[in-house]
């Protein structure tokens, strides 16, 4: 029961992480000056630096919750998936754990890159790290959903 609650909280925080990094990535890679226009223009016209601290906190909390829930996954869920032959799903989940771990190591660099006032010479850091985090977060979110739903509800 506790694990189920933690997984739900983990998933809700993941939604917030996903929103923050998607906004930031689009604003970093395709910035617009205009405040009005299409939905896409408004989506990417946010100041990207404003998401950095929230992203760091949310990413760390999501990783911590994931690390706690992982214990239950290993004992109760993974054996069932192995028995049912869901080996591709387990491989994809292993990649989620590897990618999110590498992301953890990049958090200090991300924090330095987005620290205000923004350093002009770190523009490359910011763009590169943000897109890496976007990939990690999207991958983790989608694969987390696949694993969560693979055995059905109940």
């Amino acid at each position: 029961m506790t694990a189920t609650v933690l997984v739900i909280i983990h998933g809700l925080i993941a939604v917030a992480v996903l929103g923050a990094i998607t906004h930031q990535t689009l604003a970093t890679w395709t910035p617009v000056r205009a405040k009005r226009g299409s939905f896409f223009s408004r989506f990417r016209s946010v100041p990207p630096a404003s998401f950095a601290n929230a992203f760091i906190v949310l990413y760390l909390v999501a990783a911590l919750l994931g690390a706690i829930v992982y214990l239950d996954f290993r004992v109760d869920v993974r054996p069932q998936l192995e028995r049912d032959g869901h080996f591709e799903a387990l491989g994809l989940f292993d990649l989620k754990e590897h990618f999110s771990s590498i992301g953890l190591g990049l958090i200090p660099a991300y924090w330095v890159a987005w620290r205000r006032p923004l350093a002009e010479d770190l523009r490359g850091w910011r763009a590169g790290l943000t897109v890496i985090f976007a990939f990690i977060v999207w991958w983790s979110y989608l694969i987390g959903h696949v694993l969560n739903n693979i055995l059905g509800f109940g």
């Binding site: 590498i102 190591g105 200090p108």
Partner: protein, 117 residues
């Protein structure tokens, strides 16, 4: 500038150390969640339980890999603080994203056996 050097080195070294830890099975410790055990180093299930009952004592290395990578990255970060500024200016900034991407690709390679089962 010191925080930049440390963060840059920590991030790249973490990615390298993590990929090595996964590839070479270098976990600082192993967790056996069903037994409530944490043992130093990389320990196989068959070493703590009868091989026939190994499935009852699944081993988790992920926490140990992260600990190994953190330790290595922290050491590299501290060493980087002693490197003169003139040297670090010559380092290509792109390594900060290129090395983690390479480490992620290495992790994909290590995970391929799952897809051949």
């Amino acid at each position: 500038m010191a925080s930049r050097k440390f963060a840059f080195t920590f991030g790249t070294a973490f990615a390298i150390c993590y990929a090595i830890a996964v590839g070479r099975q270098l976990a600082l410790f192993t967790v056996f969640p069903s037994l409530g055990l944490v043992l130093p180093g990389t320990v196989q299930s068959r070493d703590v339980a009868d091989p026939a009952l190994g499935f009852l004592a699944p081993a988790m290395y992920w926490y140990g890999w992260i600990a190994t990578a953190t330790l290595g990255a922290f050491a590299a970060g501290m060493i980087s603080l002693t490197v003169p500024e003139a040297w670090t200016r010559r380092v290509w900034q792109g390594w900060l994203w290129a090395i983690p991407v390479a480490a992620m690709a290495a992790c994909v390679k290590f995970t391929l056996p799952w897809f051949r089962l």
